[in-house]
């Protein structure tokens, strides 16, 4: 097949998948969050259960004027949402939905993921600086400090997985989790990494991921009650929508990474290999939904931390723990 055609097809499919996933996540957050707060949430848009609320919101945002503050650094201000969006979309390029259903089969998939996901920090910092708003500036700086602090535990948590799997390819990691560990009464048992020694790094990964996502309890960069909306304060219309979609795409993206690294990705026990490409996306979706739900659930239960508390948590607890974790994993890897 023509390489350009293939690329275009992949892009379109990916865009549709990502946008749908984001919209669904937004809807679930609206609806589940409302019910957690003893409300009903969206009700009228689209008829039943207000399913079209995210679309209606999007249509509303599209109509709004694209404003920039008078003293804003316009080129940077305009570019920032694209950087964030790009980072969000980039994650999905390497996440395998099945053995062959993957945007790009990279041998260094994990490396690419970590690189592309930390790109959003740049976008956030750009947004915070260029808005010419003090709240935005503080928000942007908080985001930068936070992302730097949590990049390290995140990487260290992933390193543990890479050591155990022995590969940096995401498909390789999924395969490693489907390798038979032992046979029990004639049944070959394969377990995801979370059950085979990666529990600690899973938690560290999730905490760091939530911090990277700037979601409660680590949403200090946008902290509504402190910084109005942080780096998002000045954004309106389509640019705000891009940040917004980008955030939810990243939520899905990080959940997908966690599912792939720790929960066995598209694989499931007793799944015949021939079915993997067909059932894979559904299985991954299931795992991703569970993680996304937990992230939403946390958002609607907990308050936020303070920036310095978050920093001390990252540097004083998470990094040492993940270093010890790596050491332990490495020892086991060598020993067995």
């Amino acid at each position: 097949m023509n390489i350009w055609l293939e690329l275009a097809l992949t892009l379109v499919v990916m865009l549709v998948v990502v946008l749908t996933a984001s919209l669904v996540t937004i809807y679930v957050e609206l609806k589940a969050g409302s019910h957690m707060q003893a409300r009903i949430g969206p009700y009228y848009a689209g008829g039943r259960w207000g399913w079209a609320q995210p679309l209606a919101d999007g249509a509303k945002f599209l109509q709004k004027e694209d404003l920039a503050p008078a003293k804003a650094d316009r080129p940077v201000y305009r570019l920032a949402p694209f950087v964030v969006m790009m980072s969000a979309l980039g994650i999905f390029a390497v996440i395998p939905l099945g053995p062959d259903l993957v945007g790009a089969k990279l041998d260094l998939g994990v490396y690419f993921l970590l690189a592309i996901s930390s790109f959003s920090a740049l976008g956030v910092l750009m947004a915070g600086w260029s808005s010419a708003n003090k709240y935005s500036l503080i928000g942007g700086l908080r985001a930068a400090a936070q992302l730097i602090a949590y990049e390290i535990p995140l990487i260290l948590a992933v390193v543990a997985v890479v050591i155990q799997a022995g590969t940096m390819s995401l498909i390789g990691i999924v395969d490693a989790q489907q390798a038979t560990l032992f046979t029990l009464g004639g049944i070959e048992v394969a377990l995801p990494f979370i059950l085979t020694g990666q529990l600690v790094s899973f938690f560290i990964f999730m905490i760091a991921a939530v911090a990277e996502l700037s979601r409660i309890p680590f949403d200090m960069p946008i902290a509504e009650s402190e910084l109005t909306m942080g780096y998002l304060t000045e954004y309106t219309g389509i640019r705000f929508t891009m940040f917004f979609l980008g955030e939810y795409a990243t939520v899905v993206g990080f959940s997908a990474i966690a599912a792939t690294l720790y929960l066995g990705g598209y694989g499931a026990p007793f799944l015949p290999e021939s079915m993997a490409n067909v059932a894979g996306p559904a299985i991954l979706l299931l795992k991703v939904s569970a993680l996304v739900f937990v992230i939403i659930w946390i958002r609607f239960t907990w308050p936020r931390l303070r920036e310095d508390q978050l920093q001390s948590m990252a540097w004083r607890w998470l990094i040492p723990i993940s270093l010890i974790n790596i050491a332990v994993i490495a020892v086991f890897k060598v020993a067995f």
Binding site: Q37, I138, P217, S225, T301, D308
Partner: protein, 394 residues
Amino acid sequence: MTSRQLMHRSEVAVSVELETPGMTLNIGPQHPSTHGVLRLVAKISGERIHEIEPVIGYMHRGYEKLSEVRTYAQITALVNRIDWVAGFANEVPFILGVEKLVGVEAPERAQWIRLILTELARISSHLVFMCSFPLELGASTPLMHMLRDREHILELIEDVTGGRFHPNFNRVGGVKPAYGGGSKTKKQSMDLPAGFFKRTLKAMDLMDQTCEDIDTLVTGNELVRARTIGIGVIPAEKAIEYGMSGPNLRASGVAYDLRKVDNYLPYDQIDFDVVTRTGGDSFDRYLVRVGEIRESVKIIRQAVDIIPAGPLQAKVPRVLKVPEGQVYSRAENPKGEFGYYIVSEGGKMPYRLKIRSTSFSNLSILPWILVGQLIPDLVAIMGSLDFVLGDVDR
């Protein structure tokens, strides 16, 4: 102004660090955590506040001036708009003051009705605090849960008075008549509607559950503790100096509750405790309010048992002329001491009405307490002070 701020302990800590002061951050008047239209002009370095100047008055409605051209009955309608989350509690000290001037005393049943409604107003006000305080810290769910549960209280208040926020239920010498003074409806008293006590007791059971929910969602939450324990400590002598009252003062260890101290409404016939804490930090101010909800539930349960039958109105002349005199009348509002200094020169209207609103005094400590704090702590402290801008600006 600066000399007092320099004494603040955190100022010393700040000055040894590398300083980049000079950025002025304008917080408010349209800011999510200022509960309305409070404005704080802060000089910050990083996120630490060096100097802060609260600017109030965006909601100044001039009630003291307006009161000079209004009759006492009209002022009653006005004053329950001062602190609108506890409208009924604002009326009580005013009406008690006017009753002292006129020399009438409301019948016993009316007094008990006032007491029950005041306590209901206290619960509803504290529930609003339970909404806003976690919201400042970033938790949005307590807000919705507490608003849901407050509805039970507001329904009770509406049931009796016809208004949810602005009851305007007190009249000099008793409570409001139901329907006019016409020949047909003259006798229609505004007694409690049938089944009110049963509904009240049911609502109080729900409040017990609410308190447990608060404890689960907020008190027990480690993140809330990390954010509030030791933050914004107000020592007792400072609180007294700034005229802070109510739960804010009691959190600093001063057991000063006008319900116990002053002889107003039949609180002396009821067994309840004054909730105090000793830390004086944001978390203690929160805990005192949780405790007060529980105490109010206790008070209402007892009051429902005790309340006697009887008339609701004392004999008061039809056109109320208040004799010459000056009286200060205060009561324990949910937020603290709420008082009115009424100067009457005879006639239908007061010569001067000084409104001692609670939040005004409670907020006057802001320039002292906020210096040296971080912006995230600023919202935690302001949330824990529980103010209403209508009460600050009058």
